[in-house]
Amino acid sequence: MSIIENHKTVGSPLSEGAKLRARDVCVFYGEKQAIYNVSLDIRQNEVIALIGPSGCGKSTFLRCLNRMNDTIDICNVTGEILLDGDNIYDPRVDVVPLRATVGMVFQKPNPFPKSIYDNIAYGPRIHGLASSRVDLDEIVEKSLQRAGLWNEVKDRLHAPGTGLSGGQQQRLCIARTIAVDPEVILMDEPCSALDPIATAKIEELIDELRENYTIAIVTHSMQQAARVSQRTAYFHLGQLIEVNATDKVFTTPEHQLTEAYITGRFG
């Protein structure tokens, strides 16, 4: 299944007054191109789901949005990404406030080798979000609660975060991210290791967060995409094939590839 080099995204990738705008973004890992000319707007207070087959570049694209790709030596990004109108790839931009504003939950849970408490408290501490110990305790508790982890860990807050189960680690990382209260949250498969109940809890959280924040979520579960997102973007081999309202994508996809993917006829 080969696709044209310069595919034009179908649907409505762009929109007025968006919070985040990606324009003609290409990403290379060394020689290998992983993202081809993607343009996509993400609106304030919306949840956008990024879906697509494994290896199609969802994580890569997501990582562009807060310049986490900078940390990979061989990774090279071209194009523009504007946050509230400012190009985040401008050399004068300080990535630190950027990343504090655009938070990220990674695909593989990566707790710090510190206590659970310190894992959560780290962000608020460096950003000076808590003025006192009590404040901080509160932030930690609140974040853990919202991530649905509080009950499981409340009596071992000072045990190492690395001693948690897979799903617990994932929720810890979510809690850690929301603890710094970013404006945009990027989530790379936040529920992949979670049971339905925990998943529901996180989906609830996403719904709740949407009121004040902008969220981009990578997911493999179409049900989840359907449940939490307003718009869905479909990636294929590094290209953005289609962006549309979620119900439209799942009921009447415009592009044949999207259709093939969501109906499971593939490969």
């Binding site: 300080d94 630190v96 460096i126 000076g128």
Partner: protein, 457 residues
């Protein structure tokens, strides 16, 4: 004010400035301003600006004050001395200093008045110094205090300063290299004017028996450095032959097999080996190991010289075990457990996991450790001088006595020397060539590491 008082003052200023800056930021934030950075960043910034400039001034002062004082004193010296040779002036100055430090002598010398002047100068310099430093401190506090405004990017500034300090630190290491190169190069060039580089690099006879005195003589002396390099190679090879397997296996055992108790005791115990003075190793090698080897050799009918490369190499190997074992243990320990799990999950034995997963993942660190050990082996002198002799034999037989480049450098430099004799200059030429050879060695090592580097995670 003397230097220790000033240093204490600086320390106090450091703490005070930190709190001042932080509290100012806090109070601004308390007034509802949204500060760009955390209060601690403002504190750190204030602390840096109040202590760094005076510290730099102080260092300059330490270096310049004696020169300026002496220049001023020189003008006070009697005409006769001043116009005489520079040596006279220096002598007089030394004398003035000595008189000044002993008040009872003040009146007894014609230089008494100059000494009194010196005492006076020193007092004034101390006051001036204290004043300057204190005002710079206050200036720093005041300026930074005023600069603390909501839009001051304190964190960025602090980080820039810290980054400069980090850079300066690594620059020191590079400057050291340059310094060494410069200090060796000049005299090495002189050497090569006397002895042809061809002879030096490819000659196979090393016998620096040249005359140092007009009334004395030696054989003409030959400076073929090949035996020295061969000896260095031989001894280092023997040492690495001990240290690498033993050190690496010990590191593996400690990090992968041993209980944490054993590890916590054995690792520091092995580290003690690196700190035993080399004289001790030297005696051990010369008086215990060498006769032992000789005894064994003779019992099987081999002709073993009483000084052997083997004895020195073996003992040197023991000395550098901890370089390999401890540093490797650290990097092995840092390999994430998930990699081991992946291997065990496939049914690999511990040793297979270690050899094929853990060691490759830890390879850059291990190579670093081994290179450090090799370096130490090449740089060691005492053991070789005591146990392997000083005779430059060109041989690959570990039972023969050999010598190394470093040993020759040291013996040439501490022996009876003369600044322009090739015998002394040879030390510098050897140093230069050794420098280049090890540089090449390191280059190769880095290339190997880059080629085989396995980045986990």
């Amino acid at each position: 004010m003397n230097y220790s008082t000033l240093l204490i003052a600086l320390l106090i200023a450091l703490g005070a400035a930190y709190f001042l800056g932080r509290n100012r930021a806090r109070s601004l934030a308390g007034q509802g301003e949204s500060m760009h950075s955390l209060p601690t960043h403002y504190g750190a910034l204030t602390a840096l600006w109040t202590t760094l400039p005076p510290l730099l001034i102080l260092i300059m002062w330490v270096m310049l004050e004696p020169r300026i004082v002496d220049a001023l004193l020189t003008m006070q010296l009697p005409e006769a001395i001043r116009t005489a040779s520079e040596a006279e002036v220096r002598l007089a100055l030394s004398k003035v200093h000595n008189i000044a430090s002993d008040p009872t002598m003040m009146g007894q010398s014609d230089l008494g008045s100059v000494a009194a002047h010196l005492v006076d100068l020193e007092q004034r310099a101390a006051i001036l110094k204290g004043g300057v430093i204190l005002s710079v401190i206050l200036l720093g506090v005041a300026v930074t205090w005023r600069r603390i405004q909501p839009d001051l990017r304190a964190r960025g500034e602090v980080e820039r300063i810290v980054r400069i300090m980090l850079f300066a630190s690594s620059a020191i290491a590079v400057l050291t290299t340059l310094g060494i190169l410069v200090s060796v190069l000049f005299e090495a060039v002189l050497f090569f004017q006397k002895v042809s580089p061809i002879e030096f690099l490819f000659g196979t006879t090393w016998s620096p028996q040249v005359a140092l005195r007009a009334d004395q003589s030696g054989s003409s002396g030959s400076f073929g450095a090949v035996p020295l390099f061969a000896g260095t190679l031989l001894i280092s090879a023997i040492a690495m032959f001990i240290a690498v397997p033993v050190g690496l296996m010990a590191a593996i055992y400690l990090s992968e097999y041993a209980t944490s108790r054993v590890r916590q005791l054995a690792k520091p115990a092995l580290e003690v080996l690196a700190g035993i003075p080399t004289v001790v190793y030297g005696f051990f090698a010369a008086l215990t190991v060498a006769p032992f080897i000789r005894g064994i050799g003779e019992s099987v009918g081999l002709d073993v010289s009483s000084e052997s490369a083997l004895a020195a190499g073996l003992v040197m190997g023991i000395m550098i075990i901890p370089f390999v074992s401890s540093l490797s243990d650290d990097v092995i320990n840092a390999v994430p457990q998930s990699l081991r799990d992946g291997s065990y999950g496939l049914g690999a034995t511990r040793s297979e996991t270690v050899r094929q997963v853990v060691i490759p993942a830890a390879l850059p660190g291990i190579v670093g450790a081994v290179m450090l050990a090799v370096s130490r082996a090449i740089g060691e002198t005492m053991i070789v001088a005591m146990a392997a002799g000083l005779a430059a034999n060109l041989t690959a037989n570990p039972l023969d006595s050999v010598t190394t480049v470093t040993v020759q450098i040291v013996t040439l430099l501490v022996g009876d020397q003369e600044f322009d004799s090739p015998k002394t200059l040879a030390a510098f030429a050897l140093g230069l060539v050794l420098f280049i050879v090890t540089l090449a060695l390191n280059f190769v090592a880095i290339k190997i590491v880059q080629k085989y580097r396995e980045q986990y995670d």
